[in-house]
């Protein structure tokens, strides 16, 4: 997933609710990998939280059953699975509040994001629509290949990136929230190294706005939230906001339980109907089996998340036969799914001493495609790694003095 800007999630934020927690990682009884703790149901979040709270047990769970592990993450992140309350991940930090346009230091964790007055002033209510618990700033529509995806109504699918507290804290500590800080890391040859508890999310959204027809078509099938985005004119200048509702169509989840991170992606099972793309990579048999079990459990629980499927999990660059591993979400890597390797593309996340990011395009042979398999050696080319975190590319420069 080139330049997919995920957000890190601190495991213990998954444990209960969404409030701040200490970062100490209590030792947990080692669960049987790939299985929920004995006696627990698939949706037993307490048991899942315990599993995910320990790096060793998590790593074993990944190795033993990556699809089970991915679903456990998805279940934990989407607590509460039913009801109008915000999900855990919705209370994480949207990158639009971390990488500020002026490169300034972001407000502390827990500071509520300000929703533009223009958005709030134009709120309309739709029948059966959820009330706003969190306003999501869906601040980009451009996929990493520079293209946009359209939904069936020819509106751009939009994207949002989020990070958990430990990720946010690390970004703050290293002053990575602007390009200056990242460039400094290159100048000082100090690569990024996020804590194992880091999480990032990248989410994709079908825009509803206040369109009743779209809302009625998507309700009951998609997780729907209140959202807005800023509108720019052709010269890149902001000209206002669009507000309304949006439907969650996809979610990348990554965490640093493994040194090369763990790459998981979910999407709504109805995407082929409501967007102008379909999933092209085959969902592995193990993932399909996990999907059936978890979707059934979620359906029984009356959760909207029963309509989501795991597309796959990636933890290595190549399979034992040396063949590149692939992972893609139809709504996030739409036009290059069969050349999408999240882990490879993020392995080249790097910046050099003049503040230039490594180009994600593999242009060998006159092709315009993306790296898969073993990544190129960016350090040999004078770049300093950003520890797989391409979301840092969303940072701006901080201008310490106004140009004359």
């Amino acid at each position: 997933m080139p330049r997919l800007t995920f957000v890190l999630l601190l495991f213990h934020l998954l444990v209960v609710g969404c409030g701040p927690h200490d970062t100490e990682k209590p030792k947990q009884p080692e669960p049987t990998p790939n299985e929920p703790p004995p006696g627990a149901s698939l949706l037993d979040v307490e048991a899942i939280d315990k599993l995910l709270g320990n790096q060793e047990s998590s790593a074993k769970a990944i190795q033993a059953g990556p699809y089970e592990y991915a679903w456990q993450n998805f279940i934990a992140l989407n607590q509460p699975l039913v009801g109008p309350d915000a999900k855990r991940w919705e209370l994480w930090r949207q990158t639009s509040t971390v990488y500020l346009p002026d490169g300034a230091k972001p407000a502390p964790w827990g500071t509520p994001a300000k929703v533009p007055d223009e958005v709030l002033a134009n709120v309309k209510s739709l029948p059966d629509a959820p009330s706003a618990t969190v306003w999501h700033n869906l601040d980009t529509r451009i996929q990493v290949d520079g293209l946009v995806l359209l939904d069936k109504w020819n509106h751009d699918v939009r994207y949002q990136l989020l990070m958990n507290k430990d990720t946010f804290d690390y970004v703050l500590m290293r002053e990575f929230y602007n390009v200056n800080g990242q460039q400094r890391a290159a100048e000082e040859n100090k690569p990024a190294d996020f804590p194992w508890t880091s999480y990032e999310l990248k989410t994709s959204w079908i825009w509803i706005g206040y369109d009743v027809e779209k809302f009625n078509a998507l309700k009951g099938k998609y997780y729907i939230v209140s959202a807005y985005y800023q509108v720019f004119n052709d010269d890149g200048m902001p000209v206002g906001y669009d507000g309304g509702y949006a439907a969650l169509s996809g979610m990348h989840i990554i965490n640093k339980t493994l040194p090369n991170w763990v790459w998981m992606t979910f999407e709504n099972v109805n995407n082929a109907e409501f967007t102008q793309v379909k999933l092209e990579l085959e969902i592995p048999a193990g993932a399909q089996a996990a999907n059936q079990r978890y979707q059934a459990a979620l359906r029984s629980a009356g959760s909207i998340f029963a309509n989501y499927q795991l597309d796959g999990v990636q933890t290595v660059f190549t399979d034992p036969g040396g063949k590149p591993t692939l992972l893609a979400n139809s709504n996030i890597e739409s036009a290059f799914q069969k050349k999408s390797s999240c882990i490879t593309c993020h392995a080249i996340a790097s910046i050099n001493k003049v503040g230039k990011y490594f180009n994600i395009v593999d242009s060998s042979g006159g092709d315009l495609t993306y790296y898969v398999g073993d990544p190129p050696d960016v350090e040999a080319k004078g770049f300093t790694t950003l520890d797989f975190v391409w979301s840092m590319k969303r940072a701006s420069r901080q201008f310490t003095e106004s140009p004359e």
């Binding site: 290949d145 890149g236 050349k339 003049v354 230039k356 315009l368 495609t369 420069r397 140009p403």
Partner: protein
């Protein structure tokens, strides 16, 4: 020798062309190609200015406009006014109105071999292998595993799938310099196939115009051309899971280790002709299906966005490429037309979809032009006027007692009633192939209409094999060949007359399309042959600089530079415009006459031509091989114009060059954007001033993202934004948000090292100057680095 030897695999089908047509309007000077700019002088007359073009240009382009040169052609004309209420009645068409954008505003430059499955299979449009010969008189079995299989041409990978191959004219205003950029050609299925990566791009060759005389063939429909390329054996991927004897035989013959001496690899040749336009729904699944310009304009005005590709019929051959054979030029002795031919018992003109009268030529890419009675079905007097035929290539295999002729694009055709991709061949009776010796024409063999009619043409893709007549013994043939050149004869008025004759001394090159940037020189090799063998000692190559006429709208003639009879004047009428004689496009670094050298035992000679860029424009460098006895060379001024057909009143036998058989390189000298132009500093300087807030921008904000973007758009991107609206779906060039969002991709696709290779190079039209590329790369660097607040140093092409 080339595809004329055995084994061969034949294929046929259809080629789709999806060029962006806004930059090659044959009737309206919308695009100033020389300077890669919109033609602001012309557009100002239409109320379109630098201030309002973003609102005015595109709507103007999708409406009919009055031609600048009246009565130039009746082809693809529109009503004077088209609105959403217009009833598109053909009787409303005005011969002097054409669409500003022409027929494919949303074209992406793609080309592909058709693979369309129609609801009724009899209307399928497929490109498939159709037959083959393991050897002469040894046709492949119809069930051979490589037969009836798809033939596919692809471009480079974009994301996870192949892009289209690309059709790119060196000069968008001319029809005689088309190129096909591609990445791979694959023949066969998953089990039994031959996959060949590009090594040399293809160029349009051997124009025959008109190839089909139907006046219902609009635009370039009447023109037939040949494309060819080759691949080394080592580069090929071959799988023969189906155990195809034909593929096995070809593989063995192509392999330098197992084939005949000199075998190097694969040669692919195809002829494209009878091009039809407005065929959406019949050759593809596109929902919008305008039948004509009027309907197209209506749909575009309704806001519909769709491509409207044209489709040529195509026949082709896969065969063996041998040492010394040019990749893009058909191999064999080159026989060129010297006399027009009257067919035997032709259909009467009132049965033909042609205009009666005398053929007078082609205006640019326009349809066939006739003088005299211009009623489509004129009086029943006689048949069509006589026409010159096209170029033929020949191989004489004395050991096999066989003459093989490449007649893919030789014979003129007609259509009765409705126009289709398949024209009937005129019947010229029995034809003789032989040798013109000092003692007269010596017949080697003959062949009848049954070997060159439509059925035979489709069966062998235009190749004709003629066995030696029993009267022609091998020694005699060898003796004749030592005395003269090959010729084709037909009976005219009861007399056998030579209508096609071997050009003994030939010169051609694989560097058919050449891009030269400011300050650059280009060097390329021209192959010179005598009777398709080594040239004699003291052979020279003279090169002469031509220009297409007229300069900016549909050009159909090459004139020697400078034009002696048309002194250049600024602001000359577009329809008569010639280049400034003081500003040659290129200079010949090593002179206009260069020696031809041939290594011992080498069947060809070579001359090296070096061009240095002098002034932006579109010169055509024509090759004149000379033997020592011709020294000193003929002064260039004596060279006549080069036309598609025989010039009016040309005496026969005609011995001049035609566009269809001349050896030439079409050159594009890109704009000189480091030099001050029209009283302004160069863009290279101006861009740096803009960013740095210096020069004319002193006092304005420095290092400013928005202002610098406006400079980039209004000086570079705007022209592509206006002419290529298909980019809206990929990277809308007017949107900073979208261009910034694709900056990693942008800086890759404009790479200089992709110009000659990748199908994904941008702009597809390859008209980005070196200076503007440097500016875009510098700006891209600023974007990627998030606009560091530092001054830019002066930019230089010297690095």
């Amino acid at each position: 020798m080339s595809v004329l030897s055995f084994p061969r695999i034949y294929f046929n089908g259809y080629v789709a062309w999806d060029p962006t047509t806004a930059n090659n309007n044959d009737y309206l000077p919308v695009y100033d190609a020389t300077n890669v700019d919109l033609d602001w002088v012309y557009l100002a007359e239409k109320g379109i200015t630098r201030e309002n073009f973003q609102d005015m240009f595109r709507p103007w382009m999708i409406r009919p406009q009055h031609d600048v040169c009246e009565n130039s052609s009746p082809s693809d004309t529109c009503p004077q006014v088209v609105s959403d209420t217009t009833n598109c009645d053909l009787s409303m068409v005005d011969p002097n109105y054409h669409m500003g954008s022409r027929w494919d505003y949303f074209g992406g430059g793609g080309c592909w071999f058709a693979d369309f499955t129609a609801p009724d299979p009899k209307y399928n449009k497929k490109t498939l292998t159709s037959g083959g010969d393991l050897a002469y008189s040894q046709p492949a079995q119809p069930g051979d595993a490589i037969l009836n299989k798809p033939v596919v041409i692809e471009g480079n990978a974009f994301g996870d799938r192949p892009s289209m191959a690309r059709l790119v004219d060196i000069n968008p205003a001319t029809p005689f310099c088309s190129q096909i950029f591609f990445s791979k050609i694959k023949v066969g299925d998953d089990q039994t196939y031959l996959s060949a990566p590009r090594q040399v791009r293809m160029y349009s060759r051997a124009f025959l115009a008109p190839r089909n005389i139907s006046n219902k063939l609009i635009i370039a429909g009447a023109i037939g051309v040949i494309f060819q390329t080759t691949m080394s054996y080592a580069s090929l991927q071959i799988a023969n899971g189906g155990r195809s004897p034909l593929l096995a035989k070809l593989q063995q013959a192509m392999n330098p280790q197992t084939g005949a001496r000199g075998a190097k690899g694969l040669m692919i040749t195809f002829a494209a002709y009878n091009t039809l336009y407005y065929k959406n729904g019949k050759y593809n699944n596109i929902i919008e299906q305008p039948p004509d310009c009027c309907s197209l304009s209506k749909m575009l005005q309704e806001g519909k966005v769709f491509m409207n590709p044209a489709y040529s019929r195509m026949v082709g051959v896969l065969g063996v490429w041998n040492e010394g054979e040019l990749s893009s030029v058909p191999g064999g002795h080159q026989l060129v037309p010297v006399r027009k031919l009257n067919p035997v018992n032709p259909p009467k003109s009132n049965e033909l979809e042609i205009r009666a009268g005398e053929f007078v030529g082609l205006a640019g890419k326009a349809s066939v032009m006739f003088s005299g009675d211009d009623l489509p079905k004129a009086s029943a007097q006689g048949g069509p006027p006589p026409f010159p035929q096209g170029t033929t290539w020949a191989q004489v295999d004395v050991s096999q007692r066989l003459v093989s002729l490449n007649m893919m694009n030789t014979f003129v055709e007609f259509n009765l009633n409705d126009i289709t991709n398949d024209g009937q061949k005129f019947d010229y009776g029995t034809l003789k192939v032989g040798v013109d010796t000092p003692g007269g024409f010596q017949e080697i063999g003959s062949f009848g209409y049954d070997q060159y009619n439509l059925a035979a043409y489709l069966k062998q893709s235009g190749l004709v094999d003629v066995p030696f007549a029993s009267s022609a013994n091998t020694e005699d043939v060898q003796n004749w060949l030592s005395q003269g050149g090959l010729a084709l004869q037909a009976q005219q008025g009861g007399q056998w007359q030579t209508f096609c004759q071997e050009r003994l001394l030939t010169a051609d090159t694989d560097s058919r399309g050449v891009y030269i940037d400011q300050g650059q020189t280009a060097e390329f090799t021209v192959q010179v042959r005598y009777k398709y063998g080594a040239p004699p000692p003291n052979t020279y190559l003279q090169v002469a600089q031509y220009f297409p006429f007229p300069l900016t709208v549909g050009s159909g003639v090459l004139l020697l530079f400078p034009a002696p009879d048309s002194p250049w004047k600024p602001n000359t009428d577009v329809c008569q415009q010639t280049p400034d004689p003081k500003k040659p496009y290129v200079s010949f670094v090593n002179g206009a006459v260069v020696p031809v050298t041939a290594k011992p035992n080498q069947a060809w000679g070579e001359a090296v031509v070096r061009l240095a860029s002098q002034h932006p424009g579109f010169p055509v460098i024509v090759f004149y091989p000379l033997q020592a006895s011709n020294q000193p060379p003929t002064p260039p001024a004596a060279q006549p114009a080069i036309t598609f057909g025989f010039p009016a009143d040309a005496p026969e036998p005609y011995n001049g060059l035609l566009i269809g058989n001349a050896g030439y390189s079409a050159v594009r000298v890109l704009p000189f954007d480091t030099k001050p132009m029209d009283g302004k500093v160069s863009p290279l300087v101006d861009f740096v001033d803009r960013w740095n807030g210096t020069g004319p921008y002193a006092g304005q904000p420095k290092y400013n993202r928005e202002l610098t973007w406006k400079w980039i758009y209004s000086n570079i991107l705007y022209v592509y934004d206006m002419l290529f609206p298909v980019m809206d779906g990929v990277m809308p060039l007017h949107s900073l948000e979208r261009v910034e969002g694709a900056i990693d991709q942008l800086v890759v696709v404009i790479s200089a090292d992709w110009v000659d290779t990748s199908t994904l190079y941008m702009p597809v039209t390859r008209d980005l100057s070196a200076a503007k590329r440097l500016i875009l790369e510098t700006w891209g660097d600023l974007v990627i680095r998030k606009y560091p607040q530092q001054p830019l140093p002066p930019l230089s092409l010297l690095g």
